[in-house]
């Protein structure tokens, strides 16, 4: 069954790839059917593990490497089961949504195949019980993401973004790989359950734990777009919007959270790693929320918001708040997927991603408006939507730690940052919502190629999307609404998070409402213009995203480009002449010999005489 979840989408991918170009119907069908089957299997497994702490395993099968063997095996527990359900469900919705969104796209079969492959890879990451197998899924996700971002490879930003995303995540993955080495050698196994057992049994020293977890963190930071490898995610937005929903919001970027959660027993062994994680989370949380506040691209706002929300989860994990992190992961998966898909619907309608060219779409897109409002509200933390409660769980963990936990200092830090972040989140959500749906309609469908993901010229008058696209929106809106009921149930999915932390909840609610009110006020005061104007000069800094890319360019890219040129120059100007130098040397020696053999008999005789005399002298001396 577990294997089926992984294999079914692969079959779908193969079918779509091979037959998709022949018959138009096959690819969507293959994608939807296999993903649906996969979801079905995931649900069966998920319900099997509902509230049940026991894990089921498959394998392990041993691969010898000459050293510590690799034990290939699958293992499903509650965490993986819930992740499976999330991943396959979002994948299914995205598949359905894409049928309409990408209708008529000649690259549709490839697209479906890659989405299927991605689903399989994500499932593999979640159910794998071996670090190397996990890495396989992890990187296959990365490469699927790379290909999908560059779906519109005629567009410069798509190509740029794909390369950036792939290279940055892979940079982190090298650290990840080394982390696996360290942890595997320390624990004597690469099996995840084995590593956890070893960690709990205390057979991993804190030094080993620190090094390995920090190295693993490199991969996590890369995959989940946390500081300092955060900048690829917004640039990945030129990819098709459903992809952004699936890969860059709900699942792949959350895999980092999943991994840290899974290996939390090892992380807790290392204070340093936990502190670093807190630091990263706090910086990312606030920084990216600020950038979301000033971004002029709807998808970019959502991307920064994703980065920020992921940081919440890491913040919870850094305080050992396992349950809160997972809750927030699941709820974020739902509402962020909803937001992206709704944004796709908006973009589909107006043909641009620029906030400055939207506005007043409430009437034209009623269903999109409704569902997206629910999504924004959930993001902003408006009760009783699910986002409020899951964020509260995170803040609650921080509150507990700050008040009477062992990580008091970091608890306070996270708490303050989290509250500030909540306000910022509410502000940028409101801003985006206002700019998209309210106020007058600005701009036109001009310059569709300007970052718009599919570059299609759309009719001047925006219209509601077809039901194949709206259906997923509605379906995703449901968990946002009723999810709170599930979250509030104690022991949901066996996750023991306290339901509500009243003081923190009240403060955060107050901050959120205040921020919403302030944003709305600024918007109203500016005459339905962008409230970010109120930020003044700071807006430029934020819109420039703290000039991080320029810094990377100057510190990393330029030197490596320079060294590459140096090597190339070396190849052509040192090695080549080195070869030709040998050539010249032989030429000169040949010329010397030619001089010696210039036909002059007396020179020959002299050579012979001198040679004989020299021999005699040498031998006389030698003796």
């Amino acid at each position: 069954m577990t294997l089926g979840i992984v294999l079914l989408p692969v079959i779908g991918a193969v079918v779509a790839m091979l037959a998709g170009h022949r018959r138009e119907r096959i690819a969507p069908l293959a994608g939807v059917v296999t993903t649906a089957a996969s979801l079905g299997a995931a649900l069966v497994i998920g319900f099997g593990h509902w509230g049940d702490a026991a894990a089921s395993a498959l394998g392990p099968y041993e691969i010898s490497t000459g050293g510590t063997p690799i034990l290939v095996g699958l293992r499903v527990d509650q965490l993986s089961a819930s992740m499976l359900v999330l991943a396959t469900a979002v994948a299914l919705l995205v598949q359905v949504y894409s049928v309409s969104y990408l209708r008529g796209d000649p690259r549709y079969p490839t697209y479906t195949a890659l989405v299927c492959l991605f689903t399989a890879a994500m499932s593999l990451v979640v159910v794998s019980d071996d670090l190397f197998v996990l890495l396989v899924g992890w990187e296959v996700m990365g490469v699927c993401s790379y290909f999908l971002i560059s779906h519109h490879w005629e567009l410069e930003p798509a190509r740029e973004g794909a390369v950036k995303a792939f290279v940055m995540t892979r940079l982190g993955d090298i650290g990840f790989l080394f982390g696996i080495f360290v942890i595997g050698e320390a624990a004597g196994t690469y099996q995840i359950s084995g590593v956890i057992t070893a960690a709990e049994a205390g057979s991993i020293t804190s030094g080993e734990a620190t090094i390995s977890t920090l190295l693993l963190l490199c991969g996590v930071v890369g995959k989940s777009a946390q500081f300092p490898l955060h900048s690829w995610l917004p640039d990945a937005m030129p990819g098709p919007t459903p992809i952004s929903a699936l890969i860059h919001a709900a699942t792949m970027v959350a895999a980092g959270v999943y991994l840290v959660a899974r290996l939390l027993p090892v992380y807790v062994l290392s204070d340093v790693a936990m502190a670093v994680l807190s630091g990263i989370a706090v910086i990312t949380m606030l920084g990216s929320a600020l950038m979301a506040l000033a971004a002029d691209d709807l998808k970019r706002v959502l991307a920064w918001s994703t980065v920020s929300q992921l940081a919440y989860m890491f913040a919870a994990l850094s305080l050992a708040g396992y349950g809160a992190a997972i809750l927030h992961l699941l709820s974020h998966g739902a509402f962020k997927a909803l937001l992206f898909l709704a944004a796709g619907s908006v973009i589909h309608a107006v043909g641009t991603q620029r906030l400055g060219q939207m506005g007043g779409l409430r009437a034209a897109l009623p269903i999109t408006f409704t569902t997206m409002t629910i999504g924004f509200a959930a993001l902003a933390g408006v009760p009783p939507l699910v986002g409020f409660f899951s964020k509260d769980a995170v803040l609650g963990v921080a509150y507990e730690q700050a008040m009477h936990g062992e990580y008091a200092v970091r608890g306070w830090l996270v708490l303050v940052a989290g509250l500030l972040g909540a306000a910022l989140t509410a502000a940028y959500s409101t801003r985006a919502w206002l700019l998209v749906f309210l106020g007058p309609r600005r701009g036109s469908t001009a310059e569709p190629s300007d970052g718009a993901d599919n570059g299609r010229i759309v009719a001047a008058e925006p219209h509601e999307s077809p039901w194949l696209m709206l259906g997923p929106l509605v379906l995703l809106a449901i968990p946002c609404l009723v999810g709170s009921w599930a979250v509030l149930r104690p022991g949901f999915l066996g996750i023991e998070a306290d339901p509500l932390h009243l003081p923190v909840a009240l403060i955060s609610l107050g901050l959120a409402l205040g921020a919403i009110a302030a944003t709305v006020f600024a918007w109203w005061q500016l005459g339905a213009a962008d409230p970010a104007v109120r930020l003044g000069k700071f807006r430029q800094v934020l819109a420039g995203e703290f000039h991080y890319d320029a810094l990377v360019e100057r510190v990393i890219l330029r030197p490596s480009r320079f060294s590459a040129l140096a090597v190339a120059a070396n190849e052509s100007s040192i090695v080549e002449p080195y070869v030709q130098g040998a050539d010249t040397a032989t030429q000169w020696s040949a010329r010397l010999l030619r001089w010696l053999h210039d036909g002059n008999l007396q020179r020959y005789v002299t050579t012979v005489v001198l040679g004989a005399v020299a021999l005699a002298v040498v031998i006389g001396l030698a003796q």
Binding site: S64, T65, G67, V143, E154, I174, V182, S560, A568, E571
Partner: protein, 500 residues
């Protein structure tokens, strides 16, 4: 089960292609020659797979052994045998030869004389397989050299049709560097002989430990330089890019897929089995050169304006990984080197096939000439190129990953007598190389496959090309998903005593 050694299975693998090379061109019609050669290559492939099955069940011992005196006065014998180290390479050679011949069936180089080219390819197959299965040092050396002249011809006569002096220079450079290396290797072999009095590899393995360590170091150094020229190890790599960029497609495929492996195979065989003590002293230097090769090759690729040269330089990097793996002197390193060898053979061969196809279609392999948007102009071709590139950059789940991963793992815990910190640095630098490899491959894909299609459509992959390429694609995926296909022997190999 019938014992294949009783009817000379290995003799068939070596002599079959050689005899075929001598007789087939008599058929006159070059198409018929190629067809017959494909038949022969299929038989060789089948026998080699049968051989592998036998090797798998043999647990590390030499199987299909045979022995006949050749030059009595020099104590040289036709000693053949195959074990888990050589078996995969034999199968790889047989497979790549088959693919090359299939590729030649319809699209031979313009220069004509396809029959002769087919004959030369068969000679290369015979020589390479012979080198892998030879258990006599002089025989090894002779067969090692057998490959050279045919390859030289392939490059010099069928290479880049636009640049005759260039291809000849490239071919000669290849030959001269390799011959220098192999002559040094011969010196090492003869030193072994003078120490131990035999050319028999199996006997040498048993007796090697009596050689004093100074001598072992000398032999190990000679072997390192000798095989290093072939691998090619970093400062000796300069012949490779030229040879590749001037060679015809089949030449590049065989050069990268088979000939480079002769070097790494030799180093593995002799360092681990025969002079482990000396090798331990020299290993850090090999590791350092390997790592320099990795980073240097990757940097050279970054600024490379020609796709074929880029892949050639990427070979320098990949072979640097193999060198690093060998230099760890652990069973894991051995397994890693062996895996990386085969993986590189498969993937780079595929890459060269694809780039060769592109070059044949547009006339050159420079980025500027190929133009952009190959995804649109020739979707399947571009897709195969992208897959091969992704495999080559070491994506987990494809063949390239396990070799590199195991190499770095081996570098993380090298032989206890080796400097641990140094190897840690090697590992980190190798990781840096992996990142750089990613960069140049995605940049190359971006330049070639993506972008607004610049010029006309390019003929897409045709049926015969699919036949030649699909085995490689399949093997890339298979090795990536089921590395145990190659790694089953790792534990057997682990039984080898590396420490004296």
């Amino acid at each position: 089960m019938i014992s294949a050694s009783s009817f000379g299975g290995l003799e068939f693998l070596v002599a079959g292609p050689a005899v075929g090379a001598a007789l087939l061109p008599l058929l006159r019609d070059s198409r018929r020659v190629t067809q017959a050669a494909i038949g022969l290559a299929s038989a060789v492939l089948a026998v080699s797979i049968w051989m592998w099955v036998d090797v798998v069940s043999a647990d590390g011992a030499y199987v299909w052994q045979s022995n006949a005196s050749w030059i009595a006065a020099l104590d040289v014998h036709w000693r053949l045998g195959v074990d888990d180290l050589s078996a995969p390479l034999v199968v790889l050679t047989a497979l790549l030869t088959w693919c090359c011949l299939v590729a030649l069936l319809k699209r031979a180089p313009d220069c004509g004389g396809t029959s002769a080219l087919v004959g030369l390819i068969l000679v290369i197959e015979a020589g390479s397989i012979g080198t892998f299965v030879a258990l006599d040092l002089v025989l090894f050396f002779v067969l090692f050299e057998v490959v050279l002249i045919p390859m030289w011809f392939v490059i010099a006569a069928w290479g880049d049709p636009h640049d005759e002096p260039g291809r000849r220079r490239a071919a000669s450079r290849f030959l001269v560097v390799t011959v220098t290396g192999s002559a040094l290797m011969l010196v090492a072999f003869l030193l072994l002989r003078s120490e131990l009095g035999t050319f028999d590899l199996a006997a040498l393995t048993e007796r090697a430990r009596v050689i004093e360590s100074d001598r072992q170091i000398l032999i190990a150094v000679l072997l390192m330089v000798g095989f290093g020229a072939k691998i090619p190890m970093w400062p000796l790599h300069f012949w490779l890019p030229d040879a590749h960029s001037k060679a015809p497609t089949v030449g590049s495929v065989l050069l990268a897929g088979v000939l480079l492996k002769l070097g790494t195979y030799g180093l593995l065989r002799f360092w681990y089995d025969v002079v482990p003590v000396g090798a331990l002293e020299v290993a850090p230097y090999l590791g350092a050169l390997g790592v320099v090769g990795i980073v240097y090759g990757a940097l050279a690729c970054l600024a490379q304006p020609d796709l074929k040269r880029l892949i050639a330089y990427s070979s320098v990097g990949h072979m640097g990984f193999v060198a690093l793996a060998i230099s760890t002197m652990t069973p894991q390193g051995l397994a890693a080197a062996n895996f990386a060898n085969v993986a590189h053979g498969v993937i780079t061969a595929l890459l060269f096939f694809v780039v060769g196809a592109v070059k044949d279609r547009v006339g050159d392999s420079g980025f500027g000439v190929i133009g952009r948007g190959l995804y649109a102009r020739s979707p399947h071709l571009a897709a195969v190129l992208a897959v091969a590139a992704v495999a080559s950059l070491g994506l987990p789940g494809l063949a390239g990953f396990w070799g590199e991963m195991l190499t770095m793992l081996a570098a993380y815990s090298p032989h206890p007598d080796l400097p641990q910190t140094t190897y840690l640095v090697f590992m980190v630098l190798a990781g840096l190389g992996v990142v750089l490899t990613t960069v140049y491959f995605v940049v190359a894909v971006r330049k070639v496959c993506q972008g607004v299609p610049a010029s006309d459509a390019v003929t897409d992959v045709e049926a015969d090309e699919w036949v030649a390429w699909l085995p490689l694609v399949a093997l890339t995926v298979l090795l990536g998903l089921a590395p145990m296909v190659m790694l089953w022997s790792a534990d057997v190999v682990a039984a080898l005593p590396v420490t004296p």
